[in-house]
């Protein structure tokens, strides 16, 4: 093992700090800012120290630094459990670790720890981008390791060598990936108190959806089998919110599974690739006709997965765009009319006036929509704050809000008027990727609407936003609001003529990512089972899968070994004359019986050396040597001599002592 110049305590090359930075990189977006500063500062110091020749700080100082870092993490989070705190602790410690690096072993341990940081990135986000990140991080880490073991090697040859290793590792990686047994869901996933929830929570308060819209993150992608439905019907139904507490709407555990709608038309089948949002609910086009495997179909037709969605998942659904759910059950009617005892008196008065007018339930829906349409309501992402009687403030004074304001107020009015109503949140519309023909639905497409039951036909969708901002429904969120914060820097105004190309590139990239997910990353327990079953392998139990793994790796091993052997033999054989090979066999065996032949000794000289040691075998050895010389050195060799030689060598090979 090569140790570096002992007089230089730090490695001058930026290899390892750079690797640590790569491992930390994707975390920077959510890590507390001081941790990023901490890490970059300490690594920068290490590089500076290497070039200036500073001595490494003492053990005590390092311990103090590590302790301070951990304390900082504790103060920031208030606890030290869960993924975020764990990653933060690892980052803080890896910030300190290079300060003590003096030999190659320490450096390698640091490098191994960096892999855990890389792994935690992969848990945050999956997809093609992360796959490339993974490959790049591993490539760089290998180059760093190679350079640790070969300090003279420059970067490019090291990277080349690392790349070659990586390519050679791919077949085995693929085999392990396919054969390693997957489990249905995480087996013993640790509870995480601080998982960063993306998308909707159990409670939706005014302003919540507006906040979601700030994000350009993808919520899911939907690929239709056959032509997609019209844009304005793309209501991706998510949670059904029943309980209203005067401010926010809340989901309730619904008794019993949902019944199939009694009438269903305009049926579509599609597959959704849902990004992890760490909650159990799934989204489907209004209205889904049944749950995907591993999920349940609640009484309010909400789709709920058995587990929180921590990884990208794919499921296929069938939805009917036109449906009738039939008469309401008792609890539905009861829940659909529930209101707080007090609050929002003016709204209650308005609803009471409609009742007094003797309107039918359908007429009351129409009256409410007319109210929104005729009064000066504004659709805005940036509504002012509302007081304790939020619905009253919104309906009669502020009149500015986003979809959840309208939905909330509408549902309140309906319930006050005795019409069962509930708020539904999900997404509306999406971006059609022309490159793949599928829809990209972003958090920015988040939406809230209302379902009411006006007669025995059951729940019907009513979108009060459409009354205020019909363009939101018809053309999407970008058409409805002035600002588009989720676009970030990449707006048409800034990019100018580049914009179409950029858009096209983004679409292609997204499509490639979806393809990658579909073919590789979405390799689940179920897909593994069906895939292996199609290969004729039994997958019933864990033992079966383990057996597959062992057998598969054995097959791979034998294949690789056979290839290696073949290459090795082919590399050796062409130089070897068969006559010479026979003589070598003779010489090898002769070395067991008597003196060995030095590689530079001629056949006659060896014969006399061997005969002196083994006079008993001299005649046979002489016969072999003469035949060999005749074949190899004289012009008189005959084809019969070849047979003779191999016969003699075989005879000789049978001699045991």
């Amino acid at each position: 093992m090569i140790d570096m110049d002992p007089s230089a305590p730090f490695d001058k090359r930026p290899d390892l700090p750079l690797l640590l930075a790569v491992a930390l990189g994707p975390h920077v977006t959510w890590l507390p800012g001081w941790i990023t500063v901490w890490c970059l500062g300490l690594w920068g110091f290490v590089l500076l120290a290497a070039h200036r020749g500073y001595r490494p700080p003492g053990r005590a100082l390092r311990l103090i630094l590590a302790g301070a870092g951990l304390a900082g993490v504790g103060l920031t989070y208030g606890h030290l459990r869960g993924m975020d705190a764990g990653v933060s602790m690892l980052a803080v410690l890896l910030g300190v670790k290079p300060l003590e690096i003096t030999n190659i072993r320490d450096r390698m341990v640091t490098l191994f720890l960096a892999y855990f940081l890389v792994l935690s990135n992969l848990l945050e986000d999956t997809g093609l981008g992360m796959t490339l990140y993974l490959a790049a991080a591993v490539l760089w880490s290998l180059a760093v390791m190679i350079r640790m073991n070969h300090p003279d090697l420059t970067l490019v040859p090291a990277l080349k060598r690392a790349g070659r290793m990586l390519v050679l590792a791919v077949p085995l990686t693929a085999a392990l990936f396919v054969l390693f047994p997957r489990l249905p869901g995480g087996l013993f996933r640790l509870p995480d108190p601080a998982v960063r929830v993306i998308g909707f929570g159990e409670v939706v308060a005014p302003g919540d959806v507006g906040r979601l819209v700030q994000s350009g993150e993808t919520a899911f992608r939907a690929e239709f089998e056959g032509p997609p439905p019209p844009f304005e019907t793309l209501y991706w139904r998510g949670l059904v919110l029943w309980q209203y507490d005067g401010r926010a709407w809340r989901r309730s555990p619904v008794p019993g599974p949902g019944a199939e709608p009694i009438r269903k038309e305009a049926i579509h089948r599609y597959t959704i690739t849902l990004e992890p949002h760490h909650r159990p609910w799934l989204f489907g086009l209004d209205r889904a006709l049944g749950p995907p495997p591993g999920a349940s179909y609640a009484g309010d037709h909400g789709l709920v997965s058995a587990r929180d969605v921590h990884n990208q998942i794919r499921y296929t659904l069938t939805s009917a765009l036109e449906y009738r759910t039939g008469p309401l059950k008792g609890w539905e009617r009861r829940w659909g009319l529930g209101l707080p005892k007090e609050g929002n008196p003016r709204a209650r008065d308005l609803a009471a006036s409609w009742v007094a007018d003797g309107r039918s339930p359908a007429g009351m829906v129409q009256a409410a929509l007319d109210y929104f349409r005729n009064q000066p309501f504004f659709y805005t992402l940036d509504p002012p704050a509302l007081g304790p009687d939020g619905v009253d403030d919104f309906l009669f004074t502020v009149r500015r809000g986003y979809c959840e304001h309208y939905a909330s107020a509408f549902a309140f009015l309906m319930r006050s008027a005795g019409v069962p109503a509930r708020v539904v949140v999900g997404y509306l519309g999406g971006e059609r990727n022309p490159s793949g023909g599928y829809f990209i639905v972003r958090q920015a497409d988040a939406h809230a609407w209302v379902e009411v039951a006006v007669n025995d036909e059951g729940w019907m969708r009513v979108d009060p936003t459409a009354a205020v901002a019909p363009q939101r429904v018809l053309r999407g969120v970008e058409a409805a609001v002035d600002e588009a914060p989720w676009r970030g820097f990449w707006t048409e105004r800034r990019l100018g003529w580049v914009y179409p190309y950029w858009l096209q590139a983004r679409w292609n990239w997204d499509r490639l990512g979806l393809f990658w997910t579909r073919t590789v990353l979405d390799y689940t327990y179920e897909r593994q089972r069906s895939w292996l079953a199609r290969m004729g392998l039994k997958t019933g139990t864990l033992a079966d899968t383990m057996k597959n793994l062992v057998v598969g790796l054995a097959i791979l091993g034998v294949t690789v070994a056979a290839l290696t052997a073949l290459i090795a033999l082919r590399r050796r054989s062409p130089r070897q004359d068969p006559v010479r090979e026979q003589y070598d066999r003779f010489a090898r065996h002769a070395a067991r019986l008597g003196p060995a032949r030095p590689p530079a000794q001629g056949p006659r000289d060896y014969l006399s050396a061997f005969s002196r040691a083994r006079p008993d075998l001299a005649p046979l050895a002489r016969d072999i040597t003469d035949t060999y010389i005749r074949l190899r050195y004289s012009p008189h060799g005959q084809p019969s001599d070849r047979k003779r030689l191999s016969r003699l060598v075989r005879t000789f090979g049978r001699i045991r002592r």
């Binding site: 892999y115 992969l122 995480g186 996933r189 640790l190």
Partner: protein
Amino acid sequence: MTSRPSFGSFFLRRLPAWLDRRSGRPRVYILPTRPGWLFMLSLAGLLVGAVNYNNNLAFMLTFLLGSVLFVALHQTHGQLAGLSAGPVRAEPVFAGETAWFELALDLGGKERPVVTFRIEGGGETIVNLAPDDRNPVRLPLPATRRGVLRPSAVEFSSTFPLGLFRAWTRIPLAAEGLVYPHPVPGPGLPSAAFSGQGQGASGGRGVDDFKGIRGYIPGDSPKRIAWKASSRGGRMFTKEFEGQAGISPELDFHQVEGTDAEYKLSRLTYLLLQAWASGGSFGLKLPGRVIEPGQGRAHRDRCLEALARFGE
């Protein structure tokens, strides 16, 4: 690190070792290094993470690193597999110097960076072997005592490329490095050392009159070194003085002063070198071995070899 042909190496020796055995090449053993074990431990940790979160990218990272480990095993083994050593030579040295064993290697046309060579009893030498490099590997071995250095084996090892495994192989050596006795200068050239009776007036090395300078030979007294002449070029020169000495001397073991055989051999070495440098002919008489008087470098080397091998 030393070689540990333990049970682990039995499992880790790979198929090409079988080919090597067929072709009469030495076996290459391979075991994980300490970082290698730690790497495997880290892999186990990564796998637990991947299973826990059931994350396919995490699985991919783990399996990729695991496969890289396997590739590294293969490549580290390949560093030494197919490497064969030709004959080993060592130039004779005087005791107290360092003998350099020159090892001609057949690289099999392959580049083999960072290979460590350790000759038995010597230190480690790290070499980057490249196929177009024509230099043989030179391995130092301190020659402390007169005699013949017979290192029984040379050990090659390598941890390249990743340092996760260490492959090693031992190649038995049949090399001999002659170690001549360390020349011990005396107070002049005692005529007693010459059994030849002729007492010439000049021609030998004495102390009386300055005669000229000649090339330096190991063992010359530093007082006699012609520093002025030596400073001009890379070579060292020694001042010569005319004095009493024998002609065509026969250096006789029994005639040299002293009781210790090694000391006597050292003295003989010095006298022999002086006799050679003077250009005259000289012979050597050791118990059990007589070398007739002769001249020239080859003769000198023959005599020195006899001194080195004395008592063998």
